[in-house]
Subunit: 410 residues, 2 copies
């Protein structure tokens, strides 16, 4: 008897097919009406219409009746900062009361306040603070998430963060990214080059030896790291075996997309201010755009030009950017809603960008991101006959069940 | 022994004090640190610091340890259309694919498609379709909600809707509004005056005799009902004992706020396009503004000038506008988040507008909307030490417990 069969789903939005999805193909959710999903040994055995379910798969140790529901792959969140210490709710309040970011920074707030709290925290503390966030992510359908370091900004503290990410792996499966180039730490403000050299010569090789991070990343932004500094840190990552990604063109257009293309980054993230040349360069180099509409929503800035990216042949994924400052959103369902309302993606495009394409962003698309035989059985069921209910019922959690590797976890 | 005591809450955001809150007072959440809430017979006995809890209230049939949590009054949602038949998820999809509202209307979509479905539905069907929506509202902390008719547009079908609202009362307590003037039904398009006369002479008196609706409401909007027609329908309500409210100045400024002031409406809702004269008239007449940022967010239109209204001395409440077309949002927590991010309210202002002031909008503030001795024990606990976490953790459901009349319902 197999482990699990989901039967009678009004729809399965399988996202089946090659990744990443480009152009009009992004809108193909691979729908199967009146569907079953059969699972054994943590893997998907088969997906298809109930009329064609093989006799052997009609019984299972767990039979889930999905009548009136839709089954989808678990969300893959390809960009988070969910591991950190400290609380910036108060800063959110101060900002709404009219305080500027600069003033908040002068009062000890902003990203460096999270750095101070994270440096002061033990690894156990980082693990304990992240757990409820990850639990809420799981409850809203996220089964895999990328998590960045970047609040340590010393080799020791960055490795401590990466170690916490490794310890938090499961039930939400985590993919770690070294973000040594997140910000110039306070003690290096007089000599940022010294910090860049530390990241290049010490931190990046040490993280590679530690063996947890799979990606490296830099915040390329006016006043943070310029394109040349970013390039040196990403190249160091590449040489150490960490695939580059890049925070690009968020607040100012500073050639981030062009740099991502030049260094062969897997993704360029944010892109609110991407140039036309940057879009062309990304399309030419096959760099994926990871769009983070939660951050532009929360900051009240312009959204990324999602349709222009798609039309130019750039593959697009969606992430939460979950972080204590610019976007505390934890739910990929909410991001799918924002992608529809603010970026004008269709529900099917947004769902594909939050599953299959997001899995490609993390280079786990061979195993995750769609409901196909042989793939890992990470799936969710929602209480609606139409997958478009996810963005439509904005802010309501429709998730009725979550399975990770075939095990029911919600 | 008393029924319930909530102990050790990091904060109680009591909202205690007279309603409605105006101007700077809107931002006073009545915080009590390290708080208890004592409840018996469905009513609040006392709220205060743990250091001052009377001995008799330390034990109760239910003791809820709120360590690390915040306790607040349950949300009051003063503007919903949550009772209706039919599904417009597909229309949301078509709109994102580029179809205009006009084209959707020509294809049989829009509000009149909900009217057709609601007319075709039995009362039982209306009740069954609304239940999961109300269940999700309760799960996100809403303990009282207004619900409008307005998808029947015949006397019989409007009374059927109001009857369904009465049958759905509890655990979310419902306050019913007759919205006969929601739209001109298809069969009356050649002679809208005939329909206005029907609302005035037949429907409104019949609804008053039925005894369920407490308010009447009209959609005063260019192309729907003009100010004169709206005035006649609201006056008919007033004469029949239904207090007027008004959908005012949403898509076009057409004197809705001024009309609300002239007829002595309790609230004017929407107000995205309100004029300066309208704001002054509302302040002068004591008409409350019910702001619905979910609708402006979903439609991608300008938001209401919340700060100008507050500064002018207009009392402000927040509602979801939950409806199948322009805003399917069910969660008041999400609306509180939108009010902060999009309307630039502070967390405390938004929370007060979603509880005490919202209770005033429904004329139930003597009984609901704050944690004060003698008031009904409708309260929620959230998993954070700071009430600002509600807007900050946008889209995450932080609610850990909900009590209605002192009974645990979530």
């Amino acid at each position: 008897m197999i482990d699990l069969v989901v039967v009678g789903a009004a729809e399965a939005a399988t996202m089946a097919g090659p990744a990443p999805r480009l152009g009009p193909a992004l809108g193909n959710a691979g729908l199967v009406h009146d569907a079953y999903v059969a699972v054994d040994g943590g893997r998907i055995l088969g997906v298809g219409p109930m009329t064609a379910i093989p006799r052997d798969w009609r019984l299972a140790r767990e039979v889930y009746d999905a009548a009136g529901q839709t089954v989808l792959p678990g969300f893959v969140d390809p960009h988070t900062h969910v591991v950190h210490a400290g609380d910036r709710t108060g800063e959110f309040r101060e900002r709404l009361r009219g305080l500027s970011y600069a003033e908040i920074g002068r009062r000890g707030g902003g990203i460096l306040s999270t750095v101070a709290a994270t440096r002061a925290a033990t690894g156990d503390r980082l693990v304990a603070e992240a757990r409820p966030r990850l639990r809420r992510m799981l409850a809203t359908g996220t089964t895999t998430a990328e998590v960045k370091s970047g609040y340590g900004l010393t080799t020791e503290d960055e490795l401590k963060m990466l170690d916490a990410i490794a310890r938090l792996d499961e039930p939400v499966e985590l993919v770690a990214t070294l973000l040594g180039g997140h910000e110039v730490p306070m003690e290096a403000r007089a000599d940022p080059e010294h910090y860049v050299n530390l990241v290049v010569n010490e931190m990046t090789p040490a993280a590679a030896r530690q063996g947890i991070a799979r990606f490296c990343d830099v915040f390329c932004e006016s006043g943070v790291f310029d394109a040349d500094q970013s390039r040196r840190m990403l190249r160091a990552g590449l040489e150490a075996g960490l695939q580059p990604r890049l925070h690009a063109d968020q607040l100012t257009g500073c050639g981030g997309a062009e740099l991502a293309a030049a260094v062969g980054a897997r993704t360029a993230d944010h892109l609110e201010q991407v140039s036309e040349a940057g879009i062309r360069a990304m399309a030419g180099a096959g760099v994926m755009a990871v769009l983070l509409p939660g951050a532009s929503f929360f900051l009240g800035i312009e959204h990324a030009p999602a349709r222009r990216l798609i039309d130019a042949g750039v593959a697009v994924a969606l992430g939460t950017d979950c972080n204590p400052g610019s976007c505390p959103i934890e739910s990929m369902a909410v991001i799918v809603g924002l992608a529809c309302v603010a970026l004008r993606l269709t529900p099917e495009e947004a769902l594909c960008a939050a599953t299959l394409n997001a899995a490609w962003a993390l280079n786990v698309h061979d195993r995750l991101g769609s409901l196909e035989p042989g793939k890992q059985a990470d799936l969710i069921a929602i209480a609606d006959r139409d997958p478009a209910a996810i963005p439509y019922r904005f802010g309501s959690n429709l998730v009725t069940a979550v399975w990770k590797r075939g095990q029911r976890v919600v």
